[in-house]
Structure formats: structure tokens, C-alpha cells
């Protein structure tokens, strides 16, 4: 069964053997937006102009991680270690090509012997920046699809699930639900037709892990989905990608076509009876569609609104059938787990949070970009060593994790190990992996207001607490942010937080108060400072408020219900 893969691998190795030098240009969204495609063209032209194309090739690869220093170009040679160039422009092509055999171009050289590159442990991102995401041959040459063949030819579905359970993998989308348990329940659910859905509707502000994986290594997701399909007995998979990721969608489409061509998707995969098809569904810009029941409604062609659970999608999902929904990063971990065994994965991380986690570093941090570290790495190490510290020489004030569902962790907890439980204990969540670093200039009230505005505009409008509660919370935070708040506003804000959290229908509403609650917990003084005496006084002596048609006083603190 492996012959086909070996054939492709050998052919790939043969075709690349003649190249002693490889110039890799990052073609992920971050560098692309800084015209890395033009850089690639310039480099290709330069290589051809110098007649070097016999032993030097130029190719596009996925994200190299250090997005802040983009566009990035790396040069691999037979003899020496990889050379990384930063802030490259198309005009630098002659210099880079000229330095192929000599010492690196000093002004562009980016040292790789720094913690950012040395402290990471890459599993999900093992191929990112190393292979061309638009060529299945390179993925196969990097051991791609061997896990799928191992699963469908050497293992029973139950054994595959056992391996996932042994790995201790937990959902990387934010909830941290044990993946093996989810797979078991879907596998046990009654039904002839089952579905696998890859949730690629990454919407947290400041998070770009899933996009990067899809753009840099799309076949990894397809392989993970096919293995999941085999384990739970599904023949159809859907990737729900947000429409704002056109590059990821284009690469996924290419990857699906190529995977079909090499018979790793479709009917009779690798000569077995197993069939698995994958289709793409595009989101239309709604954050709430990352919630699994809303996502299912959206795939079904309905308005993307959640419904109460239970029943969970494991029992009643897409078109009423048992459905497995996993996040991109979760599925990206599947192939390495099957390849290397669950125990290998479980040896990484902490007691309850196994493996590695990809984080998107953003905000006031020097090394903005994508990193992957073992679970349990202290925040301080992530921010100050890997992240290169706070930008502009400032002091770290707080770190926002988990996006609009998460919270702000103040600097005094920098030594906290990053795992699901530790972050939850601090009133934040792991979330999907966005990490926004804030320096002392950041106002925590403004941070809370920003996230509340996000939740307010992204609420689907189905349930009352989320639809109306977020508006009132936002209006109150607006008052605090303009230093116009009265003492009673704080009371009302806390009351609304409690109500919206406990009564909302789906995760969006239930977690919408988290940024407020966590900033109230650690930075309450900033809220208190925003309460002004004048506002308090003004409130007490409000002069003749406008009256409505029925004559009821409208602005008085206690408003009568007109009846």
C-alpha cells in the first residue's frame, strides 16, 4: 500500500537531487501582503538571468513563523545551514542570488540561533515553511499520508480512536474537549451516514493559527480528516472556511484535487474499500458560525444561528446525522499521532494538557508571528524569550488570550504555565490560541469595550440576553471609557455580565462577558477611576428629561413600564 507513496517520494527526491541550493520564499498571507509573490518572481528571474537554474531552484513555501520580519526568504544549501533573510524586497533579489555561494547578505540576514527558533517544538507546523503547500509530492516526501495508509490498512477504527485517546489530545478550538472522547461518541452514534467537519471559521481578533496551517500545509488537514472519517465511519467531510481567507481556500481546493489524483481522497483510497470525500463550504463573515450548531446550520444552507445543545452534533449534527466537528489545529495533530503513536504525543505537555499548542503572537510584542510550544510553557518564556519581549521598550501590562471569549491575564501571573486549567483558573481561556500582548499604555476598559463591541455586532440575534444584553454592556463600557460613568453603572454592568453569562443560548453569549469580568477582576481600579463625581451628581439632579408620547419619564433611574 505504501508503494505509491514511495514511488512519489523517490521521484520527488530524484527531481530535486540536482539542486544544491533552494531559495524558499514565504507565500503565506502575511508575507504575500508584503508582495512576496513579486519577490519570488524577481528571484526566479535573477536565477535564470545568471544561468543558475540547473542547480538552484526558487519555490514558494508556507509560513516561517516570524511574520513581524516579513517578507521572509530562506536559502537551503547542501553544505551549510539554512540562511534566513528578513524584510526582503524584490530589489534585493540580485544581492540574495549573488550571495548564494558566499557569506549571507549581512543587511538582510536574520539570525536563527535565537529563542524564537530554538525554543519551539513543531508538530502542527512541522512542514510549515519547509514544503510547497501547492504540491502534494512535497507533502508525501515529508512522510505525508503515511499515517492515513497506516490507519486504514493496519489498524481498526477502534484502534485509531484508542491511539487518539492515548495521546490525550484536546480540542484546539478553545473548549479543550477530549478529542478521543468526541470521536468515540460519534463512532458509537447510530446512523449509516456520518460526517466529519473541519471547523476553519477562525474569527477571534488577533488569531491566525488556522489560516496559517491551511495556507502552509493543507494536506495535513485532509489527512487528519480522512483518518477521522475512517475512525468514526464517515464517508464525507466538509471544511468550513471563512470567506475572508481566499488564499487558504485556493490552496485547499488545489490540495483536494491533488489528493484525489494520488488516490488519498475519493473512492477506494490506496486500494482499500475506504472512501472519503471532502468538500469546501465558505462562511460569509459571521463569527457565530464558528459555534458548531450554527456552523452546521450554515452548511445546511440555513441562517447561521445556533440551537441549544443537547442533542450534540455527535448524535444529531449535519442533516440530522452524527457529525464530528474538529478544529483545524486538532485535525493537524492527528496524522503525527497516528504516525508516531499516542504515547509519544502524551509525553509532551502537562498532566492534563498534552502535546503542543500553536499561538499567534500579536499586539505590543517584538516577534509578531506564529509559534508552537509544548503545553505548560510559562507565559514569561513565550513573551520575553520566544516573543522577544514587549515592543517599544515598554512593560507588559496584560496578555489577552482566547479572543472575545477569553480574558486579560495581568503581568504578575507571567509565570503561569500555559495549559487549559491554569488559564481557566485565572479567568481566561486557552481559546484557539490568539495571544495579544498589551503594554502599560493600554486601557483595560477600552480592551473590554472593544471585545464587547465585537460580540455585540457578531451576536446572531436569536436569544434575548446576547442580542440586547451585549448592547447595554457595550453602552455602559462606553461610558466608562469616556469617564462618564456613575457608580450605579458598575453595579448594572456586573449584573448584566452575570445574566448574559448564565442565560445565553450559545457559547458566544455565555462567554461574551469574560473580557469584562477578567478586567474587573484584575483592573477594577481602572473602572473605579472612570467613575466621575460629576456623573454621579448629574445623575442625581437630572433636569426635566424628555418625555415620550405616553408621558412616561424616560431617563429617570427607575423607568416605569408604560401600560
Amino acid at each position: 500500500m505504501y508503494e505509491r507513496l514511495e514511488e512519489i517520494t523517490l521521484a520527488e527526491q530524484e527531481s530535486t537531487a540536482r539542486f544544491s541550493h533552494t531559495v524558499n520564499v514565504c507565500m503565506a498571507a502575511g508575507c504575500m501582503s508584503s508582495r512576496s509573490d513579486a519577490i519570488k518572481d524577481a528571484l526566479t528571474k535573477e536565477v535564470e538571468a545568471n544561468g543558475l537554474e540547473r542547480w538552484c531552484r526558487v519555490r514558494g513555501v508556507g509560513c516561517m513563523g516570524l511574520c513581524a520580519h516579513g517578507p521572509l526568504v530562506s536559502v537551503d544549501t547542501d553544505q551549510s545551514a539554512e540562511t534566513l533573510y528578513q524584510y526582503v524586497t524584490p530589489d534585493d533579489a540580485p544581492a540574495i542570488v549573488g550571495a548564494l555561494e558566499g557569506p549571507p547578505v549581512e543587511r538582510l540576514h536574520c539570525p536563527t540561533n535565537v529563542p524564537f527558533f530554538q525554543r519551539q517544538k513543531k508538530i502542527v507546523l512541522e512542514n510549515s515553511g519547509r514544503i510547497d503547500p501547492e504540491r502534494v509530492e512535497e507533502y508525501i516526501a515529508a512522510d505525508g499520508y503515511t499515517a492515513l495508509i497506516k490507519a486504514i490498512t493496519e489498524m481498526s477504527p477502534a484502534e485509531v480512536i484508542d491511539e487518539i485517546i492515548a495521546s490525550g489530545l484536546r480540542g484546539r478550538g478553545g473548549g479543550g474537549y477530549p478529542t478521543g472522547l468526541k470521536w468515540t461518541t460519534v463512532a458509537k452514534s447510530e446512523g449509516d451516514t456520518k460526517y466529519v467537519i473541519c471547523n476553519a471559521d477562525e474569527g477571534d481578533p488577533g488569531a491566525f493559527m488556522d489560516r496559517s496551517v491551511l495556507e502552509s500545509d493543507p494536506h495535513r488537514i485532509l489527512e487528519g480528516m480522512a483518518i477521522a472519517g475512517y475512525a468514526i465511519g464517515a464517508g464525507q467531510g466538509y471544511i468550513y472556511v471563512r470567506g475572508e481567507y481566499p488564499l487558504a481556500v485556493a490552496r485547499l481546493k488545489t490540495a483536494i484535487r491533488q489528493a484525489r489524483r494520488v488516490n488519498m481522497l475519493g473512492s477506494g483510497i490506496a486500494g482499500t474499500q475506504f472512501a472519503f470525500h471532502v468538500d469546501i463550504r465558505l462562511g460569509a463573515g459571521a463569527f457565530v458560525c464558528g459555534e458548531e450548531t450554527a456552523l452546521i446550520a450554515s452548511i445546511e444552507g440555513k441562517r447561521g444561528q445556533p440551537r441549544p445543545r443537547p442533542p450534540y452534533p455527535a448524535e444529531y449534527g449535519l442533516w440530522g446525522q452524527p457529525t464530528l466537528i474538529n478544529n483545524v489545529e486538532t485535525l493537524a495533530n492527528v496524522a503525527p499521532i497516528i504516525r508516531n503513536g499516542g504515547d509519544w504525543y502524551a509525553s509532551l505537555g502537562t498532566a492534563k494538557s498534552k502535546g503542543t499548542k500553536v499561538f499567534a503572537l500579536a499586539g505590543s510584542i517584538n516577534n509578531t508571528g506564529l509559534i508552537e510550544v509544548p503545553m505548560g510553557t510559562p507565559l514569561r518564556e513565550i513573551i520575553y524569550e520566544i516573543g522577544g519581549g514587549v515592543s517599544g521598550g515598554g512593560q507588559c501590562k496584560a496578555i489577552q488570550t482566547g479572543g472575545p471569549s477569553g480574558g486579560c491575564i495581568p503581568a504578575e501571573f507571567l509565570d503561569t504555565p500555559v495549559d487549559y486549567e491554569s488559564l481557566a483558573a485565572l479567568g481566561s481561556i486557552m481559546g484557539s490560541g490568539g495571544m495579544i500582548v498589551m503594554d502599560e499604555s493600554a486601557s483595560m476598559v477600552d480592551v473590554a469595550r472593544y471585545f464587547m463591541e465585537f460580540c455585540m455586532t457578531e451576536s446572531c440575534g436569536r436569544c434575548v440576553p446576547c442580542r440586547v444584553g451585549t448592547v447595554h454592556m457595550h453602552n455602559l463600557l462606553d461610558k466608562f471609557s469616556h469617564h462618564e460613568a456613575a457608580p450605579r453603572d458598575l453595579v448594572l454592568l456586573e449584573k448584566l455580565c452575570d445574566m448574559v453569562r448564565n442565560t445565553s443560548l450559545c457559547g458566544l453569549g455565555q462567554t461574551a462577558p469574560n473580557p469584562v469580568l477578567s478586567t474587573l477582576r484584575y483592573f477594577r481600579h481602572e473602572y473605579i477611576a472612570a467613575i466621575t463625581e460629576e456623573a454621579a451628581d448629574l445623575y442625581a439632579i437630572t433636569p426635566a428629561p424628555p418625555t415620550s408620547r405616553n408621558g412616561a419619564t424616560q431617563h429617570a433611574p427607575a423607568q416605569e413600564v408604560a401600560s
Binding site: 457578531e458 408620547r549 427607575a558 413600564v561
Partner: protein
């Protein structure tokens, strides 16, 4: 392996009362059967539930989460609490939010005295609204020859949407927009009078809990609704089958 029985029965406790139930019965149905009052707004007998209004949230022993009674099914040994200080506080807050969201001016409303929202507010003892009113600028659609849609009174319970889709089969109504900007629309956001799919059956008007949908020619407090038609209609349909 097939189960030897079709529908299982369960026994549970609602507010300390022992209740027997089929597994496909909801807490709300069981409570109503046993004379226990749970406030509801979006629930409508005869169409599927969406759990949107959050008024019927109940406490269940063993879980910290509050669950909507209309969509929670009976489980063996379940202990349900339908009324507590905490639940009442939340229910009042839900009504607070609804009153603040749009311009619910009862005194000039066609449904004054026959309104479910007003009735619930009285029932739950709401004397004032604890949050500032939002006063949105909302239009009234009077383009239909028989009926009027007044967005100022709409609570977005989506009863009209469901009854039109599931009972009449026309699907004239739907919801557009997000969050507080949500609006009930006819066809593809066309004036109701020009909506080709509308059959003028008036089911939406009869099930609307407030004065958002009403018959033309009704003045203040004159709009009464015949909600009993729906269970009756269903009985007739089932009988014919």
C-alpha cells in the same frame, strides 16, 4: 442491536412533584400537564422550538447550567426546579431587556391588554425597567392590504417565521441582520404588500405575541388574537391522516 421497546418512559421530579413522562416529552410539556407555570414567549405549540427567549430556563439538580424547559427532554431521575429567586431575577432581566430593546409603548398599542409580553411583565411583577431604553428608529410596514407589521413592537420570537414556514408552507417571513439589528422581513426584504409568497392567511398575525403584527382597522387595545386555532388545525390535520 434493536431496543425491545419503542418509546421509553421516565420518572422525574418537577418542583418536588413526581412526574411520569415519555422520553420525547419536554420539561415544559410536563410542567403544563401538571399545572406548573413556566413563563414562555417564543414557544408556540404546533411549531418547533428554538429556545430563544430564555424565559423558560429551569434549574436541574446536578448541573450548574440553566436549561430551556421547551427544549430539554425528560431524563430518568431528573430533579427540575422551575421557580427560584435566581430564575425569577433572570426572567425579569430578560423582560427588562426586551422592553428596552424596542419601543413598547403599551398605552398606544393595538394589543394593549391582550399582549403576551405585557401579561408576562405583570405576572412576573415588573414595576420598572432597570436598563436604559434604546429607542431605535423603526419603520412600520403597512403595505399589506389586510395586515400591518410594526417593528417597534417586535420581540423577534420568530413565531411568525416558523408558523409561516411549517404550517402554512409559504416561508414568507424570515429574519435578516445580526444582533440588535435583526429584523423580521417578508420575502427578500420587500414590503409585505409586494411579497408574492404571502398567501394572506393571517396565521402569523394570530400567533404574534405582541402588537407587532395586527389586522388593519384596529385601534388601541382592539387587537385580540385567536391563538387556539393552531392546535385545532393540527388536530384536524392529524385526524385526516
Amino acid at each position: 442491536m434493536k431496543r425491545p421497546f419503542k418509546t421509553r418512559v421516565r420518572t422525574l421530579k418537577i418542583d418536588g412533584i413526581d412526574v411520569g413522562a415519555r422520553e420525547d416529552e419536554t420539561i415544559l410539556e410536563l410542567a403544563q400537564e401538571n399545572g406548573i407555570f413556566i413563563p414562555t414567549l417564543c414557544h408556540l405549540e404546533g411549531v418547533h422550538d428554538i429556545g430563544a427567549c430564555r424565559l423558560c430556563l429551569v434549574e436541574i439538580k446536578g448541573t450548574s447550567k440553566l436549561l430551556p424547559a421547551c427544549m430539554t427532554y425528560a431524563e430518568e431521575g431528573m430533579e427540575v426546579i422551575t421557580d427560584s429567586e435566581r430564575l425569577t431575577a433572570y426572567r425579569r432581566q430578560v423582560l427588562d431587556l426586551l422592553f428596552s430593546e424596542r419601543n413598547h409603548v403599551c398605552a398606544v398599542c393595538v394589543s394593549n391588554g391582550h399582549c403576551e409580553l405585557q401579561w408576562l411583565a405583570e405576572k412576573l411583577g415588573i414595576s420598572h425597567v432597570g436598563v436604559p431604553y434604546l429607542y431605535p428608529q423603526l419603520p412600520v410596514d403597512a403595505s399589506h392590504s389586510f395586515y400591518t407589521l410594526d417593528h417597534n413592537r417586535c420581540v423577534l420570537c420568530a413565531r411568525c417565521v416558523r408558523v409561516c414556514d411549517e404550517i402554512e408552507g409559504a416561508h414568507t417571513w424570515d429574519v435578516t441582520g445580526r444582533g440588535v439589528e435583526c429584523r423580521v422581513i417578508s420575502d427578500l426584504n420587500q414590503p409585505w404588500g409586494t411579497a408574492d409568497s404571502c398567501t394572506r392567511c393571517g396565521k402569523c398575525v394570530q400567533v404574534c405575541p405582541t402588537g407587532a403584527l395586527f389586522s388593519k382597522g384596529k385601534a388601541v387595545a382592539e387587537m385580540t388574537k385567536r391563538r387556539e386555532f393552531l392546535p385545532y388545525l393540527q388536530q384536524m390535520r392529524e385526524g385526516r391522516r
